[in-house]
Amino acid sequence: MSRGLVGRGAAWVAVHPVVSIVAFFAALPFVLPYTSLATQILVYGLFALGFNLLYGYTGLLSFGHAAYWGLGAYGAGIVLAKLGWTSLWAALAVGVLAAGLGGALVGFFALRRRGIYFAMLTLAFAQLFYFIAFHLADLTGGDDGLRGIPQLPLGFFGWSIPIKSPLAFHYFALAWAALAVAALQRVLKSPFGAVLAAIRENGDRATACGYDVNRARLLSFVFSALITGLAGSLDALRLNVVPVEAMFWSTSGQVVIMTLLGGAGTFFGPFVGAATVLVLGDRLSLVLVDSWPIVIGSVFVAFVLFLPKGIWGTLIGRSHGR
């Protein structure tokens, strides 16, 4: 009986993603021990949402999403910290655009191959971006990270809204996440979304039906990079610093883990996965200090073996269609 109730509740949430995500994250800062953890879950959830468009909905496993996350973070961070721009809007736009361009470039190369080649290629190109960021120390701060990103108020039709307090910034990030979720829902419900699902289920058949599969894959890749870049830009504003590890392969791995734990191909799964990994990491680091990835890694291995639909995917009882 209670299981049925949980299932029905989950189903309602799955049908109303925007309302659910806003409600969930509006309340989350008051549930968790500190606001910054809630914001971190939100931003990484958005990151996983972007990754999930490509993996869960288009069937392309990217192991290099750290590149677009990092391009977003550096894009927004560099114009604020190095070029002295004062508009958060412009900074976010630069971050998102940089990620989109990076996505288009890598997508052009990586989509020449499919399957596991694609995974290896995205990983390799992300490492290329990492090394470039590492060596362009004048611009990115190199190994020390990009420091000195100012905490600016948000200009809005002549008003200046302060978002310096953790709670204000949380709602600022939530507004962007809600927009991204709404946009993604719109895309997935469109005929284009149906083409993506067709590609995921059977790329050859989609080609035979006359769809321009390569173009659809590239568009999905770029859109995924845009959302990821938005998340990365928000993270730069959240931390006021961009560590060079943001672009390292481990960041790509983290988003893979979050998405799969939560449930690939579901709307809420990426957020559930981000919450699981970050809360677990937060608690475990008290006990295990640096070694907590052992637990996360083992849990992940167990999920791949026994629960490939992830937490949320199992709750709503829908596979992501593989």
Binding site: L61, G115, I116, Y117, H135, V301, V304, L305
Partner: protein
């Protein structure tokens, strides 16, 4: 040109060959395992790292590099067999993403576990005293240990070739990577061959690890660093192609070594540029068959 002597250049070329040899040992294992069971082993680098650590501890215990050189690949290979039985086997038939994801998780666990057991600091693995000096090749002097690594790589490759071409199991391996269903229909238990080949590939990674230990140092992240280069080798050579793995491995080794010499800052980047160029010109890799593994 600043004073770049011919012998310095030759030494750099030799160094590239040695690095290439290590990459070939890794890429062939990856390629073999993939060609047979469509498993991309992300943890391959972790087994490389385990080979170096096992070698370090065996060396400390037995005081013999030669014992370590033999025991480390065997221990790591045996560990690989356990992993195949427990974790990889349940995923056969599930599509290539799942083994990749699982071995990725496994690599995280192994790296952190090694840090817990052996500490976070890097260790140094000394080559045996016999190989500590340099050999005069006539036109230049070259570290003896590096020549030894090159020789071991060559011996392993010849042995592997003989195994694949001249033995019955090798025949089944080759047939199985071409058409697994057909081989099964002939009444051959491919599961056992997969088990064996997985262990063999992992043992080669372990061997590469202990060979690389004295050259690169022994540290927990050494496997992750080299696995990405090994992936590039496999993409450039063509997945599932052994000649491809050898040619691309040596090529990438030389490219890294020469760039380190002429433009050190580009050394980490240039391999990816080579990969992008090969992909544009020949999407299936130098020796790859189009459409395989897609």
């Amino acid at each position: 040109m600043p004073d770049i002597t011919l012998s310095a250049l030759a030494a750099q070329l030799f160094t590239g060959l040695v690095l290439g040899g290590i990459l070939v040992l890794l890429a062939i294992g990856l390629s073999l395992i993939f060609g047979l069971m469509t498993v991309v082993n992300f943890a391959h680098g972790s087994f490389f790292m385990l080979g170096a650590y096992t070698g370090f501890f065996v060396l400390g215990y037995t005081k013999s590099f030669w014992a370590a050189l033999v025991i480390a690949p065997l221990v790591v290979g045996a560990f690989g067999l356990v992993i195949e039985r427990l974790l990889i086997r349940p995923l056969y038939g599930r599509g290539p993403d799942d083994p990749l994801l699982l071995t990725f998780g496994l690599s995280l666990v192994l790296v952190e576990a090694v840090k817990l057991v052996a500490g976070k600091l890097g260790l140094t693995l000394d080559p045996p005293a016999v190989l500590a000096g340099a050999v005069d090749l006539g036109f230049m002097k070259f570290p003896a240990y590096r020549l030894f690594v090159l020789a071991v790589t060559a011996v392993v490759l010849v042995a592997l070739w003989l195994f694949l071409e001249k033995t019955n199991i090798g025949l089944i391996v080759r047939a199985g990577s071409r058409d697994a269903l057909m081989v099964r229909a002939l009444g051959i238990d491919l599961g056992r061959v997969w088990f064996l080949v997985f262990g063999l590939g992992i043992a080669m990674a372990g061997l590469a690890g202990i060979l690389a230990g004295p050259l690169r140092g022994v540290y927990a992240e050494m496997g992750i660093e080299i696995i990405i280069e090994a992936f590039v080798v496999v993409v450039v050579g063509g997945m599932g192609s052994l000649p491809g793995a050898i040619v691309a491995g040596l090529l990438i080794g030389e490219v890294i070594s020469l760039t380190t010499f002429f433009a050190p800052k580009l050394a980490e980047i240039v391999v990816f540029i080579v990969m992008a160029v090969v992909l544009l010109a020949r999407p299936s890799g130098l020796f790859g068959e189009a459409g395989l593994a897609e």
